[in-house]
C-alpha cells in the first residue's frame, strides 16, 4: 500500500497548487464582473450610501488588489464563499443544499455509462470486425454525437409525455409525504430519465474506448500465450483482454468527471433537478456572479477529489503503478 500513499501525497500537493490557480482565476473573474460583495449585500438587505462606505471599509474592499486577494483566500480557508444576492444566504449553504442531488445524478450516470459502456465494449471487442462489433461501433458514434440536453427532451417526449412511464422532471414528488423505501423508489423513478440523458453520451465514450483498447490488447503477445495455454475464449476475453483494456477507461473516469459536471448543468435544467448545475443556471439568470464562481470552485474541488479516488482505484487495479519509483 506504500506506493498508493506516495501517489496520493503527490496528487494532493499537485491538487493544492491547481486549486490555488483556480482560486486566483475566479478572483480575477470576480474583479472583472460589475458590482462587488457590498452591492450584493445591500441589494439583498437594503441600506444607504453611508452604509455602503462603511461595509466597503469593514470588508476591506477599499484596499489594494493583493490585499483583497489575500482576504479572499483567507475567507476561503474558513470555507466562506460569500453571500448570495439571489438567495440572501451564504453561498456555501446554498451549494451544500444542492450538492447531494448532483452527486446522486452524476454517480448514477457514471455507474450506468461505465458499467454498461464497458460491458458493451467487451461484447463488441470480443470479436473484432464482427457484425455486432461494427454495429455497436457505428451506433456508439451516433450516440456520442447526440447533445445531452436534446436527448433529455426526446426522452421526456417519449417516456414522460407520450408513455407517461416516468415523471417529467424534479427530484421527487412534491409534498407526497413519502418516507424510507417509498421515497427512495420515488427519487429513483425521477432519476431514470436525467441519468439516461447524462449517462448515454458517456456510455458511448466508454464503449468506444473499451472496444479500441481491446483491439490493441488482442495484438499483444500475452494474448497469444493465453491462446497457447488453451484457455477458454471467455477466460481470454474477460481475464486477460478486457482486464488490460479496462485500465485506460479508469483513467478516463477521472478525466471525464469535469465534463460530466458541466453536462449536468444542462441536464438538471432540462429535468428541473434542484442540483448544482441547475443552481449555476439560476445564478446566470439572476446575474449572481459570486454564486456562479462559488459553484465553479466547489466543482473544481469535486473534480480534484474524484481524480484522487480514481488514482487510488487505478493503483489497486494496476500493480505496476509506482513500481518504477519504488525501485529507483
Amino acid at each position: 500500500m506504500n506506493r498508493a500513499l506516495t501517489l496520493i501525497r503527490r496528487r494532493l500537493i499537485g491538487g493544492i497548487f491547481v486549486l490555488l490557480i483556480v482560486v486566483i482565476g475566479t478572483f480575477l473573474l470576480l474583479e472583472t464582473a460589475p458590482g462587488d460583495a457590498v452591492d450584493a449585500y445591500i441589494a439583498s438587505t437594503g441600506g444607504d450610501a453611508g452604509m455602503i462606505e462603511l461595509l466597503r471599509h469593514r470588508w476591506g474592499l477599499d484596499q489594494s488588489v493583493l490585499t483583497r486577494l489575500a482576504n479572499y483566500l483567507w475567507a476561503l480557508l474558513h470555507l466562506d464563499l460569500g453571500q448570495s444576492v439571489t438567495f440572501s444566504r451564504p453561498i456555501r449553504d446554498v451549494i451544500l443544499e444542492r450538492l447531494p442531488n448532483t452527486l446522486l445524478l452524476m454517480g448514477s450516470a457514471t455507474a450506468l455509462s461505465f458499467g454498461l459502456g464497458s460491458a458493451l465494449g467487451i461484447y463488441a471487442g470480443a470479436r473484432p470486425g464482427s457484425v455486432r462489433d461494427r454495429f455497436l461501433s457505428i451506433g456508439s458514434l451516433a450516440l456520442y454525437a447526440v447533445p445531452g440536453f436534446w436527448l433529455g427532451l426526446v426522452l421526456i417526449i417519449v417516456f414522460a409525455v407520450d408513455l407517461r412511464w416516468f415523471p417529467i422532471g424534479g427530484i421527487e414528488s412534491i409534498a407526497s409525504g413519502k418516507t424510507g423505501l417509498d421515497r427512495a423508489v420515488d427519487i429513483a423513478r425521477h432519476l431514470v430519465l436525467p441519468v439516461s440523458a447524462l449517462g448515454f453520451i458517456y456510455l458511448a465514450l466508454y464503449l468506444r474506448m473499451m472496444r479500441a483498447g481491446m483491439a490493441e490488447v488482442w495484438r499483444q503477445d500475452f494474448v497469444l500465450a493465453a491462446r497457447a495455454k488453451g484457455l477458454s475464449r471467455r477466460r481470454i476475453v474477460l481475464a486477460h483482454v478486457a482486464r488490460n483494456a479496462l485500465l485506460p477507461l479508469v483513467t478516463m473516469l477521472g478525466l471525464q468527471s469535469a465534463q460530466m459536471l458541466g453536462g449536468s448543468v444542462v441536464i438538471e435544467s432540462v429535468f428541473s433537478v434542484p442540483g448544482l448545475g441547475r443552481l449555476a443556471q439560476e445564478a446566470v439568470a439572476a446575474r449572481d456572479i459570486p454564486l456562479l464562481l462559488g459553484i465553479i470552485l466547489v466543482s473544481a474541488v469535486m473534480v480534484i477529489v474524484i481524480n484522487l479516488l480514481v488514482d487510488i482505484a487505478y493503483a489497486v487495479l494496476d500493480p505496476r503503478v509506482g513500481a518504477s519509483e519504488a525501485s529507483a
Partner: protein, 265 residues
C-alpha cells in the same frame, strides 16, 4: 519408435497489404514421441511459423495448406494440455496485471479439472520445479517484479502445468543474456527428461540447439534445407547454408551472431 507428429507438404502464406508472402513452402517432417528436435534458421526462415502452425496459433489471415497429423490420437491436440508453448520474450508473453501464480494456476484449472486452491498448490510445486526462489512469494508476484530469467521460468512453469506431451520452445532463450540463457536451456533439458516430453526447440543458435537436440532441421526462406541427427548436421553438413551457419558461429563463439539482431519472424 512411435510418431507423435507428422507434417506433410505444409505451406503457409501470410497476406500483408494485398500481397501474399509464403512463410513455409511444402514442408514435411516427422517427430517421434520423446524425441528432441531443433528447428534452426535465421529470422524470416519460417521456423517460428512452423512452431505456431503445429500449436494451431497462426493468425486467421494466414492460409494453411497441407496436413499436420497426430497419429495415435483421436482428436487434434489441445493447447496447454497436449502442447506447452514457451515464447521468446517473457516480458511480453506474461500478462502484466495478473499475478504469476494465477497465470500458472489457470492452466491447471482449465485442463486438470482442479479447483482454484488446488490449482494454486499445483502452481507452487511448479514454481519449485522451475527453481524460482521463494515460491510462496513468487506466486503473488507480478511479472514486472521478476527478472527476465525468472519470468521465463514462470512461462515454462505455465507451459508444463497440465503435463503436455509436447513442449515447443520458440526462441525461448534468445531474449535473455548469455548466462541466463544457459540456465534456461539446462532447465528445459531437465524438465523434458523428467516428464518424458517431446521437445521442439526453435532457435537461431545452432550451438545451443546442438546441446539440446538429438536431431536438427535447418530452415531458410521457408524451405527445409537439411535435416539429420545432431552429430551428422554439425560434423558433416550436406548443405552449404548449414556450413555457413556453423562457420559463422565457430568464428564468434561468445559474441552475438550477425543475424541475432533481427527479430525472428
Amino acid at each position: 519408435m512411435t510418431v507423435l507428429l507428422s507434417v506433410r507438404d505444409l505451406t503457409v502464406t501470410y497476406r500483408r497489404d494485398g500481397s501474399e508472402v509464403a512463410a513455409l513452402k511444402h514442408i514435411s517432417i516427422d517427430v517421434a514421441a520423446g524425441e528432441r528436435v531443433a528447428i534452426i534458421g535465421e529470422s524470416g526462415s519460417g521456423k517460428s511459423t512452423l512452431a505456431l502452425a503445429i500449436a494451431g496459433l497462426l493468425p486467421q489471415s494466414s492460409r494453411i495448406e497441407g496436413r499436420i497429423d497426430w497419429p495415435g490420437r483421436n482428436h487434434a491436440p489441445i493447447g496447454g494440455r497436449d502442447i506447452g508453448f514457451v515464447f521468446q520474450d517473457p516480458s511480453a508473453s506474461l500478462d502484466p496485471v495478473m499475478a504469476v501464480g494465477k497465470q500458472i494456476a489457470e492452466v491447471a484449472h482449465t485442463h486438470l479439472g482442479l479447483g482454484w486452491s488446488a490449482a494454486y498448490a499445483k502452481a507452487k510445486t511448479l514454481l519449485e520445479r522451475v527453481r524460482l526462489p521463494d515460491p510462496d512469494v513468487a506466486l503473488r508476484a507480478y511479472p514486472h517484479q521478476l527478472s527476465g530469467g525468472q519470468k521465463q521460468r514462470v512461462a515454462i512453469a505455465a507451459a508444463i502445468a497440465a503435463g503436455p506431451k509436447l513442449l515447443i520452445a520458440d526462441e525461448a532463450t534468445s531474449a535473455l543474456d548469455t548466462i541466463v540463457q544457459a540456465e534456461i536451456a539446462a532447465l528445459i533439458r531437465q524438465l523434458v527428461a523428467e516428464d518424458g516430453m517431446t521437445l521442439l526447440f526453435v532457435s537461431h543458435d545452432i550451438a545451443l540447439a546442438a546441446e539440446l537436440a538429438e536431431r536438427i532441421a535447418v530452415f531458410r526462406h521457408g524451405d527445409l534445407v537439411e535435416i539429420g541427427t545432431t552429430a551428422q548436421v554439425v560434423n558433416t553438413p550436406r548443405n552449404a547454408y548449414t556450413r555457413a551457419l556453423l562457420d559463422a558461429h565457430l568464428g564468434l563463439d561468445a559474441g552475438p551472431m550477425p543475424w541475432r539482431t533481427g527479430t525472428p519472424a
